[in-house]
Symmetry: D2
Subunit: 332 residues, 4 copies
């Protein structure tokens, strides 16, 4: 299978590096408008065609699969051209700027019988898979909440707000691990440096069965935090993505659901063991790309296909709407 | 000066212990309905009168100062009786259940020329004082935000929600350190264990000059976190109250406010030194009580007087209203 | 049972406080040469006799049990007098300045059929008990090493070196958890502030079956560390005594003992789960004192009796000898 | 300048990657016996000659500089051949297996007027440079000690013990930052897995002016620690190399050197601010290699030349001798 990587900024080289490790896959072409970037990476891929012309790239009939890691505003156009040219497509997250665009790509891929995958890499991490497995086994009991803090200093994105930049990860994780349907979304955001795009935000989602989610994203925090808490009636999970080898901690302790009649109002906490499970160290991006390659080979649907990408875009649009209207937005 | 401590649950004994250390102050009486509690603590105060009768206590003309550490619902009635009996009063936080009650106490204290203080202890910590000093010096530059995470597992309070239990601390800190006026408050909260009082909540406050505050309080977190971030254009502060000796970190790094024209949209973060200042280790409660005693002696107004207590109660009421109406509430 | 606490410096008040909580035990007397200390604590024990005279104390026939928390140099004389006066005795660690003194006390206690206990409190902590239980179950496999870091800034003791002050804890733990016999001891120490008593030291002990122990103690470290590592062929334990609630971590990961023939020299590490067990929160000192009281009532031998105290003193003497001779010292 | 990198295991590719970034330097040849490794890396260096023959490499007259990153046992032979062939040489640490070999290389390099550098990368880290600068300014006051803990799980080296593998870093740092001369060395080590090379060790060095150093290295620790404490009479430094961005902490607190006459024996610690300085993020290896290239161009002596490499080898030999004789070894 011959793959082209389009967009060689921060993420594109990671795609190329991981594609190159998959048996039977060749990084056959590299594309970027910026010739410096093209030269920088090209050295490592001597057999790859280097081009600044996307149109020329798409004319290469030997290419099977186009991976798009360009700025968001170009995703739709580039993906549409690739699908029209009969190429399988991986587009980075967020999939598109609007739900309408996402739906158009999905329809086109379906019509042309092509794979359309979205690079929601978090879904392929060992940590998220482990948590999903815990939830499927009902190991946490009844779910109370998901609470994510995803904050750091910079980089202020030039063309989008912090929700589209960082909350996109939480939306993909939530859609992956929670079978419950989201019901509504509220958003609070502010801008302090530039007065264009929001630089810090809090999102509140409500789900069926009294499950809530809170997401805090910011480009203006002096410390970098990547921590998700998931509370349940039996156990609770802390997922700290900064930790190099101990990302997940499972707390046995919880608050008793049915306090005794003797102490009706003061169910003091009980405390139990904490388990830090060993997680497989495979790079999530390698797992993601291998999965897409397998899906192409076997004509199956990837876990993060266009439909999943669309769901995330719709939640991002809902967040924008909630900010604009300063009110609670109903999700489907 | 002869002090009586009323209410010998968790906090009352701390009041007694600290009063006893102040030169010229005698813990002259201890009062609780529960005779076991009275006996437990009385041993340490052989000279103190022990009584279950608050009425009897107030008749003791030798007492100057009544410190009330009983459940919230009793604050108003007990404080009112004490002021009516001509005693100076310290009432624990939150001051009262309603703003109307707080105002009545303030008026009564004023009429009788008595001290009415509220036990907002955080205001007297070395950490909050240090931060207040930084803000007064404009050391952080223009203020962007205050973000507090105050979460742990249990204890579910019998008669109040998590906002009245935990966010009360942040309200007192915010009122102390920010000269800006709060403009509005939004609130989201949920209950998962009992279906009575809210067990986790997020509050969003907006202030003048584009300052925002976010407060996350919860009784349902597997980990205990007490962390406040304050972001400014020049420096940022992290105040981690769990840290035994390094509670405050001051980050020189910030995001440049005026990006150069060359890179108009991508003001990458720069990074600087971090300073962990040495803080005075005096117990905040001792400092608070000494301050009240001095105020009585010198006929001055305490930093956390009835007016400050009222402001906090009004914010708590605003939070209740925001929850009930599911909408943004204007603060005066 | 009527107890007297002798020596009201840092530790004595803790003894009094915990004795007072044991059913059937009365803190009947408090003794210290320093009348200020006597007055400070006496308030909390109105029923206790306060005296600066140890001789007077021993004449009180109503007293059953003398707890000695005075400076080391006085342990022998005070304990001897108490045993001669027919009192059960608890003496703080280290038991005495010399092994000869310890043996004399043991003989006297035996002759007079009295309890002689030593306050090696660490042996009664939940953490050490948990580790001992793991070792008894052979859960760690073959034991490789014990490595303790017990360092902080100050307080320089007036009459002893850092080994007698801090390594005493490790000796008591080692004697408690390791069934293996210690074979030899080496020591290195230095003094940098005062040129009298050593302020930092490293001790190396060898045990049967190729087990080694290393102990690092210091009064000159800017950071406080209290961490013990225990390595075994199957699992390893980290015991961090600074951690408030997660003191013990059990690592499944270890290095395979029998590398395969294919890779004879490079048994790369494998990694497994980490377990943080929930530990009982009872104060170790309460557990220790309750145990001594039970031993007196039932005429049984305490876990940390005179013989255990003697073993620790002999190891401290061996450390002194190793320092003086700059050579390896054989332990019996 | 045309460079060849010999040995493409773990470290060699890092050398090639950093050489490639230095202006005016070309990675002209890559050499390894293992053709797989040669192929793996060669892709990234299409212009480089790939060869399994070191002899052939040395015949290439266009090459200026040979960087040797092969196993220790081959260092001497490969470096000698390169110097004989008129090439400048960088050899990885430890420089050679014996001091005699190191001296022979130094003499040969001098005779042929070639650069002989040793890859003691730690010396070029921002952290070590910062510490060296502090010491040069006497900012810590009188130096008390250096204490290094460098422990982790695995990898057991096939042909050397843990001292040659890990303590080599501390020796290079000590030689770099301490002007004081080392006087003696003691060593304690043990083997628990294989019974060949030592897997854990403690080294004690004494220096002039009552400065001591302790180094703890181990392949058998469940946790990875890389922490150096440096204590002085005025300030103390903690250098934690695991920390991604806060590697160095400078503690103002220290123990007063001259206790007052009133409290002659108990100079309680005082406590001050902690500073975490911002450190330049340049990769140390890049700084090291650039320095070597500059030294070749300007005919100057590198900071870690053959003489420095020899000093470290002599300390490693001294450690072996101390282990073998179980006694204190005098350093020149």
């Amino acid at each position: 299978m011959r793959v082209a990587v389009v967009g060689l900024g921060y993420w594109g080289p990671n795609l190329a590096r991981n594609f190159a490790k998959i048996p039977g896959v060749a990084v056959a072409a590299l594309c970027d408008r910026d010739k410096t970037k093209l030269n920088d990476i090209a050295l490592g891929y001597p057999a790859a065609k280097k081009t600044a012309s996307y149109t020329a790239l798409l004319k290469d009939r030997s290419l099977d699969f186009i991976a798009i890691a360009t700025p968001l505003s170009t995703h739709f156009s580039l993906a549409k051209q690739a699908l029209a040219a009969g190429k399988h497509v991986l587009v980075e997250k967020p999939m598109t700027k609007t739900g309408a665009q996402a739906r158009e790509l999905i329809a086109l891929a379906k019509k042309n019988r092509l794979l359309l995958a979205v690079g929601h890499t978090f879904v392929y991490t060992s940590a998220v898979r482990y948590i999903k497995h815990l939830l499927q086994k009902k190991a946490l009991g009844r779910i109370f909440y998901y609470d994510s803090t995803r904050i750091n200093l910079g980089i202020l994105q030039p063309d989008t707000n912090v929700i589209w930049d960082l909350a996109v990860h939480d939306f993909s994780i939530l859609n992956d691990i929670f079978p419950e349907k989201p019901l509504s979304l509220r958003a609070f955001a502010s801008s302090h440096m530039r007065m264009t795009f929001e630089e810090m935000a809090h999102l509140i989602l409500t789900y069926e069965h009294n499950v809530t989610a809170h997401i805090h994203v910011s480009w203006l925090s002096p410390v970098k935090i990547r921590r998700i808490l998931i509370g349940g009636s039996k156990k609770m999970v802390v997922y700290d993505d900064i930790e190099p080898s101990e990302k997940i901690r499972i707390y046995d302790d919880s608050v008793p659901v049915h306090p005794t009649s003797v102490t009706p109002f003061a169910p003091a906490y009980r405390s139990g063991n904490v388990l830090i499970p060993h997680l497989d160290q495979t790079e999530a991006l390698y797992r993601e790309l291998s999965h897409f390659v397998t899906c192409i080979r076997k004509h199956t649907t990837p876990e993060t296909d266009g439909a999943q990408g669309l769901k995330v875009v719709e939640m991002l649009e809902a967040a924008d709407r909630a900010l604009r209207t300063k009110s609670e937005v109903t999700l489907i």
